[in-house]
């Protein structure tokens, strides 16, 4: 019996690679971003990748064919048509795959987990990942960042992807980043294009910072939460904006979902 009966759930076992989630709607460029990260860091980091396709192993095959990692380091897990569940409510399949990758290619530095593209509300459970990136693209429209949601608001990093397309879709990238930064109360935002070297360097730097922080024990996994922050009035009629991800479940409030629990 190993010393620690739950190596896969220990929050920061130094021996365990950093687990990084990449979430966001279908088509925003999650797989491409992972390929970009692998390309930018393959020389200095040992990386493994897990994909959560909905119906095929398309993402895993795309990444293998991108030639950025040994094909064996890229694994697909089935999600039973519930990509949302597989990264939040029941992360078992992903945890086991992450554990296997880490053991098969020890010592790994990072295991990157791509969510099966779901909607704006899908985020990773901190039981699965230490940090997560939420990806949007400019083609989805400049106002998406303002609309918010748990991933947009509280993922460790928000990527506004495909900035090279901005002129073609009439989106003001600076404005979109400013909106996103406001919605995120200053959390990190990177405007990315795989063809823009500086933006790739920024992404690379962000990941290395998170890894260093994780290794030093300073990094604390954040749960963006399954719900968007929401607004409800207190007794004086003064609004309180709060999010259920901030560890504030204990305070008494009487709106619908609290009653339903």
């Amino acid at each position: 019996m190993p010393e620690n009966p739950f190596p896969e759930t220990a929050p920061t076992t130094p021996a365990r690679p950093l687990r990084l989630g990449v979430a966001g709607p279908v088509g925003v460029g999650k797989s491409s971003l992972i390929a970009t990260v692998c390309r930018a860091l393959a020389a200095e980091l040992e990386i493994g990748v897990i994909t959560n396709d909905i119906y095929t192993d398309e993402d895993a095959r795309f990444l293998r064919s991108a030639g950025v990692l040994e094909p064996e380091r890229i694994r697909a897990v089935e999600t039973g048509a519930c990509p949302h569940t597989a990264i939040r409510d029941d992360v078992t399949a992903n945890l086991l795959a992450a554990e296997d990758l880490a053991a098969d290619f020890a010592p790994l530095d990072v295991v990157i987990i791509e969510s099966g593209g779901d909607n704006l509300t899908a985020t990773f459970s901190p039981a699965l990942v230490d940090a997560q990136i939420f990806v949007l693209d400019v083609a989805g429209g400049g106002d998406v960042a303002r609309k918010g949601g748990p991933g947009i608001g509280r993922a460790d990093l928000l990527v506004v992807n495909k900035t090279d397309l901005a002129p073609h879709v009439g989106v003001d990238v600076e404005q979109m980043v400013a909106d996103a930064s406001a919605a995120r109360e200053g959390r990190a935002v990177i405007a990315l294009s795989r063809t823009d070297e500086d933006s790739v360097a920024a992404l690379r730097g962000w990941l290395l910072d998170v890894l260093a922080s994780y290794r030093s024990g300073a990094h604390v996994a954040q749960d963006p939460g399954p719900m968007a922050p929401h607004f409800h009035a207190d007794e004086d009629g003064v609004g309180v904006l709060h999010s259920h991800a901030d560890g504030d479940h204990a305070h008494a409030h009487d709106h619908d979902d609290a009653v339903a629990r």
Partner: protein
């Protein structure tokens, strides 16, 4: 009254059975279809699903159930330790001999691994769970039925409830997978779940009485085995098995 000397309250075995049967328990089960997706891909007409569910409940379902029952018996008898390990390997061999498809054995071991996480979290210190956990290596976990046996031993589940739980879980897994694979009123397969459980009732006593690995039923489902092998090779699937 001295509250510190009161024994800790324990959940009723029936409550534990409900927890285990609840798909919301995070053990990795949601990625599995209890062989339904392989069957549909293999050509089983959707209209035959209810009969197929009854078939499972009275054949392969009983192999799983008998395995869990015998594992629990082994783990609750005699002194703990090496004897249990040897006995558990005999149980596992008996199960493997009755589960000829490698794809199905692999899927069951994967489910067993997820289930073992649940078991260790909830009943970790119990010797029955520890005995099964000690047999897990990274590449090969005990199958789900054996892990269920350990949980049954730890939580005090009756053998008849272990059989019913196994049959119900299998049927409900297929029923909920069906809703992802075929357009259907969700209440329709709920009826089929009850029908499958009802069909198994005639066998519950016999399977619950199994005590040795040889007693485990050996009723097979060859088409299911073949479909599972074919499904494992596809890359267009929603479910692991």
């Amino acid at each position: 009254m001295n509250p510190t000397s009161a024994p800790p309250a324990r959940p009723a075995p029936a409550s534990v059975a409900m927890l285990l049967a609840d798909a919301r328990l995070p053990g990795g089960g949601h990625a599995h279809s209890a062989s339904l997706e392989p069957a549909l891909l293999g050509g089983l007409p959707a209209a035959d699903v209810p009969a197929w569910m009854v078939g499972r409940a009275t054949t392969v379902g009983l192999v799983e159930a008998g395995t869990a029952v015998v594992a629990a018996r082994v783990l609750t008898s005699g002194p703990h330790g090496l004897d249990h390990d040897a006995a558990l390997s005999t149980v596992e061999r008996a199960w493997a001999a009755r589960t000829p498809s490698r794809a199905l054995r692999d899927a069951s071991r994967l489910l067993g691994r997820g289930y073992l996480r649940v078991a260790r979290s909830l009943w970790g210190p119990h010797p029955a769970v520890a005995a099964v956990a000690a047999r897990a290596t990274r590449s090969s976990s005990p199958p789900r039925a054996v892990v269920l046996g350990a949980v049954a031993a730890a939580a005090g589940l009756d053998a008849v409830d272990v059989v019913r739980l196994t049959v119900y879980d299998d049927a409900q897994t297929a029923a909920s997978a069906l809703l992802k694979l075929e357009p259907l009123d969700p209440l329709v397969p709920a009826r089929w779940v009850l029908d499958a459980c009802a069909a198994a009732e005639a066998h519950v006593g016999r399977v619950a009485a199994c005590t040795t690995p040889d007693d485990i039923p050996s009723s097979g489902a060859p088409l299911t085995e073949g479909w599972a092998e074919a499904h494992a090779l596809t890359n267009q699937r929603l479910f692991r098995a």
